[in-house]
Amino acid sequence: MPTLVEILARVSFLAAMPAVLGVMVTAGLLVVSRDWRVNVLALAAQYFFVVLLLTRQIRLEVAAVKGLIGWMICTVFYLTERQASTFERSAVAEDESPAQRRRWIMSTRVASCLLAALLIAVVAYTAALRFPLPELPSDITLACYLLAGLGLLLIGLSGTPLQVGLGLLTFLSGFDLFYVALEPSLAVAGLLGAVSFIIALAMAYLRIAQLAAGGDEEEA
């Protein structure tokens, strides 16, 4: 059975524009979707593409460890949200009408989120052309701007712990992609990984607190 490092080496041909496109699509999905299953999958895929881009800047093993931390974060979110959905399912089953109303609200929200995400993508593309980041090739610069911009958008669009957490982690992924080129130290990589993991744990804790308080705060 191939190791994670071998798998990453085999798919390294994707570590250019395809990975940047992957980053854009997954971050865009995080902005648009409010379904936790889609979000967790999109975050896992986003970490995969980020790791692919990282392999061009740091040792494969270090990139793989960063990927593992990312996927552990996805597991934390998955377990938390699964637990939360079990709690919430019964309440939703009692009354169907809010779900129907919600569908209409969702579609308006999806349209506006999509538009905002597209605007951010255009801004990121322009920024990558006009303000190239030092020590980075242009495609990775674009990925950094996309992740940072869409992460900020996610934070701004919602006040719920899961969405804010996803936004913070997306923003940090974008910065990590940039910063490894400036400071490839293992200690910094480890501490940045620890930061991401503790943020995920904190958001999971807040999600549980939200359930314990008996409310499901609606997104903006």
Partner: protein, 476 residues
């Protein structure tokens, strides 16, 4: 030989684990946390550097000023030592009050872990590691900030978000300044670093318009925060950020000499004072009143830093040393009142609670008087000195600072008129035990400390002067 520096950093972490395990015995865990912070704080003040302080058989414990750990340098200079002592002793005071008001809170283990991380941030070099440790501490603070049976803490979310957004700028400054040291003609590097420094610390110090988290960590049903944990963030967390800023300026003095930096800092401080004063006077929620009080304090400290003089720096340290005395008392009083009305801090829900919780009310009043900077309180000491220092050259900031203090007083007056009115019949209050003798003693001691230091600030004022003399970035 055992490195005492490691003990100072790891002991709070170990005790955090012990305190967490002993949470079932609330008083024991709270007092253990208090004693740990107190003993370490005193040890930092009295134990000699670079000498054996304790012998364990053949092994000796030595607090050396310079230790290497996993290839990273830990440097304890006199400033770091005093800063760490300030953090530990403030935490001891806060834990002492929390023992009576929120004994089952996660504040004790999380607070000890944060102390360890923040102390590490003061000691570690280069500074990029310090920033990462502060970020981890900010993420950990969420666990303490979240109040029981309340919605997710808004203040905590905003605090973590803004700290995370400040992280990239501070990490990149290190790289930019290293390059600037090699190519001093490239002023673009210095300009970018100065802009990043200003932006990052604007976020970290909750400068207007990024101040949303400061009032929201004060507590209350809507914000979902634990007031004493909020006070921890506003005093100890904020103190560590101030020392980080000064360490940055000390490491890269070119940034402090950047043109117009002083005026920008002063204006930012003035904006905080004005916004804090205006909003504090209009508050009907006590948690937010505490947050706006902290905002005014930070604004005043920024004005002091913007004075660009040794006296200004001394006043900045004096404000840092005095601030916890008022804020912690307000937070303790608020916790006591909130426990009796289902966690709400809105004035409409606090009617007549002074009769049910007289000691909480007393803590709130004396703490708020200090936050407002009223004479004979700890908060007055540094404000009076700042008014006197500012009035000859720039009386406008001094006037606004005075007015902002009045804003807090108006907020407090409104709270008092509600708290001292006829009580409402409350169902929830029946479950909460009355304030006992121990609570009365703890609150009385804390109030006495606040008033005592206000009347006799002589022990703390020379400490602020000593701290200011140790920093050389201003070239005064």
């Amino acid at each position: 030989m055992i490195e005492g520096l490691f003990l100072l950093l790891t002991l709070p972490l170990v005790m955090a684990g012990v305190v967490y395990v002993l949470r079932r015995w609330a008083s024991l865990s709270a007092l253990l946390a208090t004693c740990t912070a107190l003993i370490l704080g005193i040890a930092l003040l009295v134990l000699p550097l670079e000498q054996s302080v304790l012998s364990l058989g053949e092994r000796q414990i030595n607090i050396d000023g310079n230790v290497t750990f996993l290839g990273r340098e830990l440097v304890m200079e006199q400033t770091d030592r005093l800063a760490m002592a300030f953090l530990f002793l403030t935490a001891a005071g806060l834990f002492f009050l929390a023992w009576r008001f929120v004994p089952r809170s996660l504040l004790f283990p999380v607070g000890l872990s944060m102390l360890s991380l923040l102390s590490g941030a003061l000691l570690i070099r280069p500074l990029i590691y310090a920033i990462l440790l502060i970020e981890i501490a900010a993420a950990l603070s969420i666990f303490a900030l979240q109040a029981e049976r309340q919605p997710p803490t808004r203040g905590g979310l905003h605090y973590l978000t803004l700290t995370t957004l400040a992280l990239p700028g501070l990490l990149v400054i290190h790289w930019l300044m290293e390059r600037y040291a090699l190519t001093p003609d490239d002023k673009g590097l210095l300009n970018t670093s100065a802009i990043l420094l200003l932006f990052s610390f604007t976020l970290l110090l909750s400068v207007v318009p990024f101040h949303v988290w400061a009032p929201a960590v004060g507590g209350g049903k809507r914000d979902g925060s634990n007031p004493l944990a909020g006070a921890f963030v506003l005093t100890i967390g904020n103190g560590a950020i101030w020392f980080l800023l000064l360490n940055f300026l000390e490491a890269y003095p070119g940034l402090y000499r950047y043109p117009r930096l002083s005026s920008l800092v002063s204006n930012a401080g003035l904006a905080m004072v004005i916004v804090g004063g205006l909003l504090a006077s209009a508050q009907r929620r006590l948690g937010r009143l505490m947050g706006y009080g902290a905002l005014i304090d930070t604004g005043g400290a920024l004005i002091a830093l913007g004075m660009n003089s040794k006296a200004g720096l001394t006043l900045l340290f004096l404000s840092l040393l005095m601030r916890p005395l008022g804020l912690i008392l307000v937070a303790a009083g608020l916790s006591g009142l909130q426990a009796r009305n289902g966690g709400d801090d809105h004035l409409d829900e606090l009617q007549g609670l002074s009769r049910e919780a007289p000691w909480s009310t007393a803590a709130l009043i004396f703490g708020a008087l200090s936050v407002a900077g009223l004479p004979a309180s700890a908060g007055f000491v540094w404000r009076w000195a700042l008014y006197r220092a500012l009035s000859p050259s720039s009386p406008v900031p001094a006037l606004f600072l005075l007015l902002a203090g009045m804003g807090v007083m108006i907020g407090l007056w409104r709270a008092l008129s509600v708290l001292l009115s006829r009580p409402q019949v409350s169902e929830e209050s029946e479950d909460v035990p009355k304030e006992g003798l121990l609570t009365a003693v703890v609150v009385a001691v804390s109030i006495a400390a606040c008033v005592g230091i206000g009347l006799f600030p002589q022990p703390l004022a020379p400490l602020a002067t000593r701290l200011a003399e140790m920093y050389t970035f201003g070239g005064w």
